[in-house]
Amino acid sequence: MIPATFEYVRPSSIDEAVAALAEHGDEAKLLAGGHSLLPLMKLRLAAPEVVIDLGRVDGLRGVSEVGDGRLAIGAMTPHYKVMADPLIREHCGVLADVTAKVGDAQVRHRGTIGGALAHGDSAGDLPAVLLALGGSVIAQGPGGTREIEAADFFVDYLTTALSDDELVTEVRVPKLVGDWGWRYEKFSRVAQAWAIVGALGMVKRSNGHIEEARVGLTNMGTRPVRCTATEDAIRGQSPDAIEDAAAHASDGTSPSSDLNATAEFRQHLARVLTKRALTAAVG
């Protein structure tokens, strides 16, 4: 319940934050909304020597159009702002809808999109949506900025492609063009619990057919999963193809077994939930 002591640094610009990271290296942890880090610190499962609070860094909040058909979301934009943002609702409503399933209302008031993604927890709801969308993050370090595709960003359990001296400044998602429908099936023991399995199904509808589909899975391994086999199997097909295609949703996954589900049951759930998500997405 009580974190260990730490040195507190509160930069006011991205450059200062990068400098603080460079100075303290792996002894430091970045504090965004704090809803992943502080619980770990309270249980003393994490005890960083330095905490760099990004709460006062200018320019890390808000949503804008980048100009290349994408939206840029400041890393410190809290979940509830993502859910309500007009640009996101108009062009990438799936992100707003999945974000609404993160934690509970109080968590969504503090937790941030950048923090949730940088935590790299495949049981979180946002990694799978970023992956399915083909989104990316902008990372900044002493050497400047770089863009990391979602497919490359999530490396392992609680591990991302960020280096120790980098921070996420921005999240980028494409504007969805065409007649898209989506559904995120979050399957959990109680409302506020983490997903046992989550399945995001997105379909672009065209003349009664599925022109394109995206499927992302939560908590089906150490990284979020994108089910290309299922996506490929329904591309250009009628909705009747969903059932057979969803049967491939668990192909190649290696989920963990825990108190809530064996790996086998998780794979079964992934198939069932993917079928339901895609069916609902078609509408």
């Binding site: 974190p3 809803h35 502080l38 503090r110």
Partner: protein
């Protein structure tokens, strides 16, 4: 130690604190404002819910230094104790009238979470109330009378004439 300035229930406060001090402990132990409770250590129970700059948050999962410069509102600021029952917030009155509390330990957090919920959605359905309070645990009431209380308070806050709430 770091200096923080936090406006709590309308009063400005200023203290040197350890950076690791949790906001809920700042309220309870430094300020002696014990109206806000702690019920868990994993951000699940919501007993410590307060409003920070107008949004409901779990004060066990915020450092006091993060709240520096912020406005914090707790259950203690909802009503002037000097005024007694007449000064109660509609939510306080509704929790009382609908028997939305038994032991009362979750109640400050439940009321503050409900206040945020109604501010976001002035006319919530039963399901919206239940879903909106997913981050607050009560072990006594089975929630039914809490839902009733929130519906009743929302109606009053909207200015509806008194309605019989049946959930």
């Amino acid at each position: 130690m770091t200096k923080v300035e936090i406006t709590v229930d309308g009063t400005s406060t200023e203290h040197e604190v350890e950076p690791r001090l949790l906001l809920v402990h700042y309220l309870r132990d430094v300020l002696g404002r014990t109206g806000t409770n702690v019920g868990c250590d994993t951000s699940n129970c919501g007993a410590c819910t307060i409003h920070m700059d107008g949004q409901s948050v779990k004060s066990c999962t915020v450092l006091a230094v993060q709240a520096d410069g912020s406005t914090v509102d707790t259950v203690e600021g909802l009503a002037d104790p000097v005024e007694g029952e007449a000064g109660w917030h509609p939510l306080q009155r509704a929790f009382h009238e609908e028997h939305g509390l038994q032991c009362g330990y979750c109640t400050p957090g439940m009321i503050m979470a409900s206040k945020g919920l109604i501010e976001d959605n002035p006319n919530p359905s039963e399901k919206e109330i239940r879903d909106g309070l997913e981050g607050n645990l009560c072990r006594c009431t089975g929630y039914q009378n809490i839902v009733k209380a929130v519906q009743s308070a929302a109606a009053e806050m909207r200015g509806d004439t008194k309605v019989e709430v049946e959930v």
